[in-house]
């Protein structure tokens, strides 16, 4: 999910990343709405609210909303900074850092909400700010590494794209286009996962309250460790294979005493080092 970049990503990579992160975003958005009466993952509404508050002369509310919009923007900025500056050194680490930061933000909201929250306005605004920053990080990362194919914190663009795609499917040539079908599947999966996350959040919020954020973080941990596990597994399997090959070669050379010592040595050296 996180190891590959841009065009080297497969549809499966994008679907896995999209589904897990959209599910998390759906959960966070509904949790913030139920707990704090404000959305945390879709920004379009905040722009409209900012305009409305400015028109009404409510400068305090306008400042709050402007701050939230800035933090969402800053989340995307930070995310892409890691991606473009660390990508060449270690792709996996470059892509995992924004998710780690997001987890830190969400766990902080969960812990603070569960143990310290006095329901004052400043606390509410600060926690929403953290959530918006976290969502900005997530959206920035998914969009950046998937070449803007995966955006998971809001569904405006996805719904528009789906509308366009389904209208194109009225033509037979587009219906048979593998790439377009794949895109439709990806977008539908993201929309369904976001909705599922929102529903699950709405149901479990009554029982879990702020502990919901730990569950969201768990989904993000899966995103990180899925690739980590695959990398480890790949290395383990590669090492195992090379060791087996080395043992086989050694036993083969032992069974052939006529091979001169020098040649035997060379055979062992030829075993690739993983």
């Amino acid at each position: 999910m996180l190891r590959k970049y841009s065009n080297s990503r497969t549809l499966g990579d994008n679907i896995r990343l999209g589904v897990l992160t959209a599910f998390s975003a759906g959960m966070v958005n509904i949790a913030s709405l139920l707990l704090f009466f404000s959305f945390s993952s879709n920004i379009t509404g905040h722009y409209a609210i900012l305009a409305a508050e400015l028109v009404k002369g409510n400068l305090y509310q306008a400042a709050v909303v402007l701050g939230w919009i800035f933090l969402f923007f800053f989340g995307g900025f930070v995310s892409n900074m890691f991606v473009i500056h660390l990508n060449k050194k270690n792709t996996y680490v470059a892509h995992a850092i924004p998710i780690v930061l997001e987890i830190i933000c969400l766990v902080a909201v969960g812990i603070y909400g569960q143990f310290f929250y006095n329901e004052t306005l400043i606390e509410t605004e600060a926690m929403l700010a953290l959530m918006l920053f976290a969502m900005g990080l997530q959206n920035g990362l998914t969009a950046s590494i998937s070449n803007f194919a995966v955006k998971t914190t809001h569904l405006t663009g996805i719904t528009t794209d789906l509308g366009i795609l389904f209208s194109m499917f009225t033509h037979k040539e587009y219906r048979n286009n593998k790439e377009m079908k794949g895109k439709a599947i990806l977008l539908l999966s993201i929309a369904a996962a976001y909705l599922a996350g929102a529903v699950v959040s709405g149901i479990t919020y009554m029982h879990m309250g702020f502990r919901l954020f730990y569950v969201v973080s768990l989904f993000l941990v899966v995103v990180i460790f899925y690739d980590f596990y695959k990398l480890k597994l790949f290395r383990y399997l590669s090492n195992k294979r090379s060791k087996t090959q080395a043992i086989q070669l050694e036993s083969l050379s032992n069974r052939l005493p006529d091979i001169p010592e020098q040649k035997k040595k060379r055979t062992q050296e030829e075993v690739p080092a993983y």
Binding site: S38, A62, V64, L121
Partner: protein, 157 residues
């Protein structure tokens, strides 16, 4: 180096702008403190039969659920306490402001919660919008005026 400076400057200007907006306005949590008198309430125009429902409710023909029908004097105290005066008796509830400062949440002792939209809140006037689907599907609007003797907000400012 020049790039870092430019970016830092732009971000700093943005943050400074937000803080200036904060300073130029009053925090709703402080602005709401004090005594308020309910002067009027009405259903939003454009809703079918709104006038009839409002008239019926005012005449006590029907009994809506919201507390504003039981108390006309509200006193918002620091620490999140709300004192309602109902027929000469006092009831103590808790209040919180949520969202971006646009939702007033009132909690009763029995964990019943009422949410109101803070449509207008200034030194003299407060308008709350309460959505009620008990009596009618529509939005009722409560209009309050600050009692002149009250100086909580002024003291704090």
């Amino acid at each position: 180096m020049k790039l870092v400076l430019t970016y830092s400057l732009v971000f700093l200007c943005g943050i400074l702008g937000v803080f200036m907006l904060f300073n130029a306005s009053a925090n709703p949590e402080k602005l709401i403190l004090g005594k308020w008198k309910e002067t009027d309430w009405k259903f939003e125009t454009g809703i079918a039969f709104a006038a009839d429902i409002a008239a019926a409710s005012k005449a006590k023909v029907t009994q809506p659920e919201f507390s504003f029908h039981r108390a006309e004097d509200w006193e918002f105290l620091p620490g999140g306490h709300l004192r309602l005066k109902i027929a000469g008796q006092q009831e103590l509830l808790t209040w919180r402001i949520k969202g971006r400062g646009h939702v007033l949440q009132i909690q009763y002792g029995n964990d019943r919660i009422e949410n109101y939209q803070l449509t207008v809140l200034d030194n003299n006037k407060m308008i709350l919008n309460a959505e009620s689907d008990v009596q009618a599907r529509g939005i009722s609007q409560l209009i309050f005026e600050r009692e002149k003797s009250e100086t909580y907000a002024q003291k704090i400012q």
